[in-house]
Symmetry: C2
Subunit: 483 residues, 2 copies
C-alpha cells in the first residue's frame, strides 16, 4: 500500500487537542503504554481472528504531517504556533507488540500494545482502531463462514456493498486471512495478489436474443474459464438445460464448462436438482457456485438440507460484517501505564475495568497441540503449570493451570523505535495460520451460536496489581454514583 493512504489527519480531533495539551504541560515526552483490545467476541461467537497489523504498522511508519496538513490545522485557530512547529517534525518512534495476523484471539486479550512518548502513542489511537477493528471483524466473519462451508470454498463478492472503495480493498484482504480463497475485487487482486474470480451477470444474458445464444457466446470467448449464470429466466427449465447444451458443444471442441452459478431462489433445492441434471448429462465435474445474500447461517442450512454447492460467493454479509453482534468490533485503546506507573480505568462495573501495566499473553497448549486456555500476566511473570489463575470479570472464579501444558507466546515485538522489526509475511501464511489455529481450538469454540467459551484468565500477579490499584482509586475518589 502506498503512503498516500494514511493521512496524519486520519484521527479524531480530540487526539490532537490532547496532544496540544500534553505539549503545553510538558507531558508529551513522558512514557505511556496503551493496550488495544475488545470486550466481547464479535457475532456473539467464541473467537476472533486478528487482522490488520501490516496496514497498521505501515500507517505508523509513514506517519508525518505534510505542509498542507499543518496549514489546515493552523487555519482551525485552535493550536498554538509552537505546537504546530512540534508537529512538523513529529514521527512515531514507539514500540508495538502484537500477534501475527491470522492468530485466533479472544475478548479482553491485549492485541496491540503501543508504548512510547505520550504524544506519539496517543495520536495514533483512532487510526489503529479504524484499521484493526474492521479487518479483525471481517477476518472473523470469513472464518465463521469458511468453518461451515468446508469442504465447500468461499469467494468474497462484497465490493459493491462495501463501505467505500478502500473498504472493499481491506475487506478482501481480511476475508482472505479468514479463509476466503479468492475475491471478485480486481483491485484487491492487484494490490494483494489474491486470486480473483468472476464470470458474467444477468445483463450479459439480456444483451443476447436468448439465453442459449448468450451462453454460447460466453463459452466461445472463454472456453477454459466458463461459468454460466443460470437463473436469468428459469433455473431448472431453461438455465441448467441450456448450460448442459453448451457444455456438450464445448466438450465436442475439447473444452469443459467449469461451473454454473445459482443467484436466486431456494439454493438448497436448486443445487440438488442442478447437480442431478448435470450428473445425468455426464458432467459430474461441473461445479455449482451459489450466491444471493449468503452468510454462515444460510450456508449451514443449505448444507443441512443436503445442498450440492461447491463454491459459495459471499458478498453483502461479509462486506458489512452483518448478523447478530456484528457490524462493528468494539475495539478500544486504553492507557495501562503512564510515567512509569501502572494505570487503571476505575469503574464500579468490573467488566469494564482495564487490565493495568505491560503484559504478556500466553497460550497454554496440551501435548496433542490443542489449546487449553490463554493467560494474561505481567511482563516479568512466568506462570507455572499447577498455578492458580483468575477469571478477569469474576475473580472469585479461579482455575488451576493443567500440569501437562506448555506455553506459547501469542505476541511478538513487531515494531521498535518506529521501525518494523519483523519481515513482511504473506497473506497465504496468515490464512494458513488462521486455519491451523482454528483446528487447535477446543470442540465447540467455533460453533456459530452458544459456543464453548474458551478460557482467558489473568495471572495472580496481574490480579493482585489490579485489586490494589482499584482499592487505591476508590479510596481517592468520592462515593458511589447514585445509580
Amino acid at each position: 500500500m502506498s503512503d498516500h493512504r494514511y493521512s496524519a489527519l486520519l484521527t479524531d480531533l480530540y487526539e490532537l487537542t490532547m496532544l496540544a495539551g500534553y505539549f503545553e504541560k510538558g507531558m508529551h515526552r513522558q512514557t505511556a503504554v496503551f493496550d488495544l483490545f475488545f470486550r466481547h467476541n464479535p457475532y456473539h461467537g467464541g473467537f476472533a481472528v486478528f487482522a490488520g497489523l501490516q496496514p497498521a504498522l505501515e500507517y505508523l511508519s509513514q506517519l508525518r504531517f505534510t505542509a498542507e496538513d499543518l496549514a489546515y490545522l493552523k487555519k482551525l485557530d485552535i493550536f498554538k504556533p509552537d505546537f504546530l512547529d512540534y508537529l512538523e517534525s513529529f514521527r512515531f518512534h514507539g514500540k508495538v507488540t502484537a500477534p501475527a495476523e491470522g492468530t485466533v484471539v479472544f475478548a479482553r486479550e491485549p492485541l496491540l500494545t503501543v508504548e512510547g512518548a505520550m504524544a506519539e502513542v496517543q495520536l495514533v489511537e483512532t487510526a489503529l482502531l479504524n484499521i484493526v477493528n474492521f479487518q479483525t471483524l471481517v477476518a472473523t466473519k470469513a472464518a465463521r463462514i469458511v468453518s461451515v462451508a468446508r469442504p465447500g470454498v468461499v469467494v468474497e463478492f462484497g465490493l459493491r456493498r462495501a463501505h467505500g472503495p478502500d473498504g472493499g480493498l481491506s475487506e478482501a484482504r481480511a476475508a482472505f486471512i479468514g479463509g476466503a480463497r479468492s475475491t471478485s475485487n480486481t483491485w484487491a487482486g492487484q494490490v494483494f495478489d489474491i486470486p480473483i474470480k468472476g464470470t458474467h451477470a444477468h445483463s450479459w444474458v439480456m444483451a443476447f436474443p436468448d439465453e442459449l445464444s448468450a451462453f454460447r457466446a460466453y463459452a466461445d470467448c472463454f472456453p477454459d474459464q466458463c461459468i454460466l449464470l443460470v437463473d436469468t429466466y428459469d433455473t431448472l427449465a431453461s438455465g441448467v438445460p441450456n448450460a448442459i447444451t453448451v457444455a456438450e458443444e464445448l466438450r465436442a471442441k475439447g473444452h469443459e464448462v467449469k461451473g454454473i452459478r445459482l443467484d436466486s431462489g431456494d439454493l438448497a433445492y436448486l443445487s440438488k436438482e442442478a447437480r442431478r441434471m448435470l450428473d445425468e448429462a455426464g458432467f459430474p465435474d461441473v461445479k455449482i457456485v451459489a450466491s444471493s445474500d449468503l452468510d454462515e447461517i444460510v450456508i449451514q442450512s443449505i448444507r443441512n438440507e443436503g445442498g450440492c454447492v461447491d463454491i459459495y460467493g459471499v458478498g453483502t454479509q461479509l462486506a458489512t460484517c452483518g448478523g447478530e453482534g456484528g457490524g462493528a468490533l468494539g475495539g478500544v485503546y486504553k492507557l495501562v501505564r503512564f510515567d512509569h506507573q501502572p494505570k487503571l480505568k476505575v469503574t464500579s462495573d468490573i467488566s469494564k475495568a482495564t487490565l493495568p501495566d505491560r503484559k504478556r499473553l500466553l497460550r497454554a497448549v496440551f501435548p496433542d497441540g490443542e489449546y487449553g486456555l490463554d493467560i494474561i500476566c505481567l511482563e516479568h511473570e512466568t506462570p507455572e503449570p499447577g498455578a492458580t489463575v483468575f477469571d478477569p470479570i469474576n475473580p472469585a472464579r479461579t482455575k488451576t493451570i493443567p500440569p501437562n501444558v506448555r506455553f506459547e507466546e501469542v505476541r511478538q515485538v513487531v515494531m521498535e523505535k518506529g521501525r518494523i522489526t519483523q519481515p513482511p509475511s504473506s497473506l497465504d501464511a496468515m490464512a494458513d495460520r488462521c486455519a491451523e489455529q482454528m483446528q487447535r481450538l477446543p470442540n465447540g469454540t467455533i460453533r456459530l451460536t452458544n459456543p464453548h467459551i474458551y478460557k482467558v484468565a489473568i495471572s495472580r500477579g496481574l490480579h493482585d496489581m489490579r485489586s490494589r490499584l482499584m482499592q487505591e482509586a476508590l479510596e481517592n475518589q468520592p462515593g458511589d454514583e447514585k445509580r
Copy 2:
C-alpha cells in the same frame, strides 16, 4: 478528492470478462442504458437520502487503465492482446442522469441512469454501486438520527469503527449531507471543509493525579474551547462538580466552559441531573454532549424521558449504518435498454421485475409545497393531473394524480460525453436540500418505525410497455419453474 482514489480495477472481475466478451463479439459499442436503484428503503424506513454523486462522477471522469493495471490484467492470462490494447485507450464517454445529492428518494426510483457504449456503462457498475450504496445509506441514517435529535445537534464520531480509513472519510461526507453538523474526523474536515469537533478522552484524565487537575489543565490549554469529559470516575459525584469548579475558575479569568460530555451510564437520567447541577451553579449556557452507542432509537428514548442533551455524538451506529434493515443498501444496476430496444429482467416475481427503457422521475407537489407522489414515466411522456397511474408492484392498484399538483423533475443530466455538466455543489447546499425536502414530505414519512409509505407510481406508458415486454418474454421462454 485526488485521482488516485479510484483505480480502474475497482471492479468485480466479471465486469471485465463481460467487457472482453462484448469486445470479441463486436457488441462493445452498441448502446446500452442502465438504471441504478434500490428495491427497499433502508432501515425499514419511509425514505432515503441520495448521496455519493460527486465522487461517482469523479470516478467516471478519471477512469483509465494505467500501465500497471494492464500489466496485471495481462498476467492473469484470461484476456487477449487486442482486448488489452482496447483497454489502454478506454475512457468513459457516457451520459449520466441523477438527482442532486441530498435529494429525498424512494425505493424503485431510478437514481443514476447511465447510458453509452455497452462496454463503458457495464464496466462502471461495481464502482458506482460501491460509492452510491454506502453514501446513500449513511446520509439516510444521519437524516433519521437528525430528525429525532432536533433541536439537538448531531456530531459524527464514527471514524474508529468505520470500515477502513476511506470508509470514515465517505461516512463523514455523507453524514453531513444527511444533517450531521460536524465530525470528529480531522481528515474529513480537511478534505471536505466540514466543521470538526473534539475535546479529550479518558486517557487525559488518567494521565493526571486526579480529575480536577486534569480538567484544570485542559481549561488552561483551551480556555475558549473547553468541553470536559465527566464520566471517568463518577459522573455526578465527581465529574460534574469538578467541571463546575473549573467553570467558576475559568469565569473568574474571563472565559466560559463550553460544555461537558457524558459517555456512559443512563444518559437520560444523568443529563437531567447534570443540567440541574449546572443551572443551579449558574451555568445555564454550558452545553451537554452525550455519546455512547447512540442511534435514532436511543436518542428518541432520551428525548421521550426528558433528557437534557444539546449535542449528540453518534459514532458506531452511523459508521456501520446499523439497526434493523441497515448495514447495506441493496442498490442494483440493471440493463433497461440495449441496442435501441427496451429491456426487462423477466421474473415470475413482479416485485423483482425491472422498469424498462429510459425514464423520467417526476415529483407531484401540492400548492403548499408538500410532496404528493412520485411518478416514474417514459422519457417522452408528460403525465397530466387527473391521469391514472399504477402501483409498480401491484398494478391493479391505481391512483389518480391530484388535480392541483405541479411536477418537479427530480433528476438532471449531470454528465454528457464523459464530462461533468453541472457546476460542483457545496456540501452545505446538499445538506440544506436534504433538510428542506424532508420538511416537505407528508406527515409520518420520516417516522422511525411503520412509516407512512410515500406513493411512487408508474405512468400508463411505462405500465403498458412493461406489460407488453413481460408478455413477449413469457411467450419466448420455457414454462414456469417447478417452485
